[in-house]
Amino acid sequence: MQITINGKPEELQADTIMDVLKHKDVDPHMVAVELNTQIVERHQLETTNVREGDKVEFLFYMGGGA
């Protein structure tokens, strides 16, 4: 199925957000995840399903400033 990850359409097999994270080799502790502009809580990553056409955004922590 096709979903949009960080603005880019991608073809992949995934049932849940966690599957998408694994596919992209992203540690869930390093990101905030948005599904169609809604934040998905970290404990719900494995139970939140993704569907054709969904938009998923990974926001990496960025802590610098000085």
Binding site: N6, G7, K8, K24, D25, V26, D27, H29, M30, A32, E34, T37, Q38, I39, E41, R42, E57, F58, L59, F60, Y61, M62, G63, G64, G65, A66
Partner: protein, 275 residues
């Protein structure tokens, strides 16, 4: 208040703009902006706000200038190495624009002093480099009802977004808590291309001026990420999270506190540039 001829000349390019004009320039002159951190982000923010004629700029930083700061912290010059950052900053701002009142605080921003420090100010700028401090600034601005311009930088990337408490998504709506200690590197550990601080800081200054003037569309409910390697901006739309631990429907955070300082080690580099 009225402007002198010298001031009208100084701010003439602002006054020419229909969205600013003499009226807007007065708003800028009456504005008070608090900048937490006089470093990579704080430097461009303070310099551009000073040039713009912001009436009062408050600067808090407990550090002294280190030679390794000079690659990006453009408030500080080579002879400033070893001097207090806020004193160095005050000198440069005075040279640039003596109209500006600079309040300096050579101090750490903590849960016990945060509310007192931000109380007199209209807008707060995040220019700090640790997660505990970023969350503390977010929480303090929420409790005080002060608009916050968040900024973050790392390696070749930067992020900026504006928060109007109780109206738009806050930092905790997105990132509920800091990452586990040691997982996400700091600039000190991972490096930063100096100009990214300039790019993100000048956007923060732009957003502060827009809020002061009440013009345009603020950078609220959208996060702007920048990648210098691609010279690409990405806008991520967001909204208030009803489960936000701070500003959600059932908040757990009801008073200021500080998260533990992260350990200064790096466990897993990489993974950051996924796109």
């Amino acid at each position: 208040m009225s402007f002198s001829e010298e001031q009208i000349n100084r701010y003439s390019r602002h006054i020419l703009l229909p969205e600013v004009g003499g009226k807007g320039q007065k708003k800028i002159a009456q504005a008070k902006v608090f900048v937490v951190g006089a470093g990579g982000l704080g430097s461009p923010v303070a310099l551009y706000l000073a040039a713009a004629g912001v009436g009062t700029i408050g600067l808090i930083d407990s550090d002294v200038v280190d030679r390794s700061n000079l690659q990006r912290q453009v408030l500080h010059h080579t002879p400033d190495v070893g001097r207090s950052k806020v004193q160095s900053a005050k000198d440069k701002i005075f040279l640039l624009n003596p109209d500006v009142t600079v309040e300096t605080y050579e101090d750490r921003f903590t849960a016990s002093n945060a509310m007192d420090y931000i109380a007199p100010y209209d807008v707060v700028i995040d220019g700090v480099d640790t997660f505990p401090a970023k969350f503390l600034i977010n929480d303090a601005c929420y409790f005080a009802g002060k608009p916050l311009i968040h900024g973050g930088i790392l390696r070749f990337e930067g992020r900026v977004f504006s928060i109007v408490p109780k109206q738009s998504a806050c930092y905790r709506c997105i990132f509920q808590h800091p990452p586990p200690p040691g997982l996400v590197p700091s600039c000190q550990e991972a490096g930063i291309i100096g100009v990214v601080a300039g790019i993100i800081g000048t956007i923060q200054a732009t957003e502060a001026l827009k809020l002061i003037l009440g013009i345009g569309d603020p950078l609220t409910d959208r996060i702007l990420d920048f990648d210098a390697r691609k010279t690409a901006f990405r806008e991520i739309k967001t909204k208030r999270n009803p489960r936000c631990p701070l500003c959600g429907d059932h908040p757990d955070i009801t008073e200021l506190f500080e998260h533990e300082q992260e350990a200064c080690q790096l466990q897993t580099p990489g993974a950051l540039g996924v796109s």
